[in-house]
Symmetry: C2
């Protein structure tokens, strides 16, 4: 059997079974959430890792190196935010062909350094290895707000029937930006920036923790798929209202026929999905600068796990609900 | 300028300059040692990451997948040991072509799981990405013994003039094993096991910390090059006596003409070099099961940083003193 037959999620399940430790002891959150969390003395460590591969996650001749470096760290910041954590230290692994241009790699690290500065992260180590293809892997560590010895976290398994579902910022900008980039739009165009230069909302994550919310995920695979991860881990289902989605207005102008699909399934927006009591979500909305939009509700477990509904409440069909680079 | 013109160490220097934070604040050890160390509440976090790339760090049709998985974690355990730390939790990133066989990857993770169990590590997260070439990246975290609020560490900058240099186990077995493997020796052969299945000495690291030693490095690039890293960071030089090196006896039998060279520069033995007062080193030798051999002394800074001398104290020439996959 080939990896392409079972895809990323099928492979994760099989491989995790070979190594994963059950939660318990010092482990608070293990495999299956945005980040792992374990106890260390009087604090916790929040840890995540993400990789960008040239030609798979970024286009070698289209994405400026500075943006690749920014994004390599930003996607990890987004995972820590989605856990309710605060990023602190990073290890950066660069795999490079010996024929790479040193100046390109310096630009890549400059972009990564800018992201580190923007989010208060210190790069304290890493590895550089020879490889036929360029890739960059960041392991990002963080901590969490502690409350009487326990961390306050935003977990995928924290959704309950009756909870509201909200999302920060705008959706679809990244997928639209990628399409524009491929069609020849300049990298300086604001639409393309959303794809190349995501800005995870640590502010909303902190406000959510402060408001007593306990469930979140970031929009990386695609909104519906990501909400599905929450449903799977929480044993619930979700209804998402298509007409409430904060679709990027530039996207509606550029691709009116596909805007909804790109917003619901495009992925890589690195916005934050927050789930919890409506009054707590309203409190977050009052606190944060970025817009926060209620887009649906958590309901009792049904099939499908996530329903996208129109203004009359009728289920809409959404083929191709997210990314799986490994599945054919 | 291409990466091949400046090599791994030249590239690290240039890229670290773009992102590295000065040591200070919570950072106790930053870029340039076997692992980074930072303060977190009443404890410290010790963190390292290492990558194995197919075709670069292991031979796709010669190394059993189980051994690749073991080694991917073991080389990181070696880094934590060389810092005097205790490994705890790991994040594992697998980059795979969609055409990979699932059963091969399951074997790889089984081997990794065996190493995790052997060294008390829990795999708590990671990432799986699509890539044209298979590689595996482990980020390994750990803690350290604390003494009145400060960690007891084995640092590269802890060598002082007059210190003894000792090394655990045997040298050259890995390089000899690689040569035997390429020549068709079976993977079950004990000589080949040293290359495929390194066993870092956490026991010696713990005993070294306990005995009050404060300086170590693991043998990854090659003994002389690794001792050179200590000299560079400590502002000293080293004299290593060729006739004292614990050359693997199998290596002497198999490759009598090259045994010394493979032991001094072969690399990947993942033994521990300990540096410090002779009586403390003797105390470690009495405690640990694996042999510990004194191989030289730290002297005042001279050129070259590391001298290999024969039984009469005459300097021997050692061309090609270690690995640099990126340099041509």
């Amino acid at each position: 059997m080939k990896v392409s037959e079972i895809g990323e999620f099928g492979l994760i399940e099989r491989l995790a079974a070979k190594v994963a430790q059950p939660v318990g002891g010092d482990v608070i959150v293990g495999i299956g959430d945005d980040a792992a969390v374990w106890r260390s003395g009087d604090r916790v460590v929040v840890a995540t890792t993400d990789t960008l591969v040239e030609g798979v996650h970024f286009l070698p001749n289209l994405a400026p190196w500075r943006d690749v470096g920014w994004k390599a760290l930003a996607v990890n910041v987004s995972d820590i935010a989605a856990m309710g954590g605060r990023p602190t230290f990073a290890l950066v692994t660069l795999a490079v062909p010996a024929s790479s241009r040193v100046s390109d790699l310096e630009e890549l690290y400059e972009g990564l350094g800018q992201c580190a500065e923007a989010y208060g992260v210190s790069v304290v180590g890493g590895d550089i290895v020879s490889a036929p293809q360029l890739s960059i892997t960041v392991a990002l560590l963080g901590d969490a707000v502690m409350d009487r010895g326990d961390p306050l976290l935003l977990r995928r398994d924290g959704a309950r029937e009756g909870d509201a579902i909200a999302v920060t910022g705008k959706l679809g900008g990244s997928a639209g930006g990628l399409r524009a980039l491929k069609a020849g739009t300049l990298v300086e165009d604001p639409r393309v920036r959303a794809h190349l230069h995501p800005q995870p909302s640590l502010e909303a994550a902190a406000a959510a923790v402060e408001a007593g919310l306990r469930c979140a995920i970031d929009v990386s695979d695609g909104l519906l798929q990501d909400v599905g991860h929450i449903c799977k881990m929480s044993g619930v289902s979700a209804v998402v209202r298509a007409d409430e989605l904060p679709v990027d207005p530039d996207l509606r102008d550029a691709y009116p026929d596909d805007a909804l699909h790109l917003a619901a399934a495009g992925g890589e927006d690195y916005e934050l999905v927050l789930v919890g009591e409506r009054d707590r979500i309203d409190r977050v909305a009052e606190t944060v600068v970025s817009p926060l939009t209620v887009i649906g509700e958590i309901v009792a477990r049904t099939e499908p796990l996530v329903s996208l509904v129109d203004e009359r409440g009728e289920a809409m069909s959404m083929p191709d609900a997210g990314w799986d680079h490994l599945r054919e």
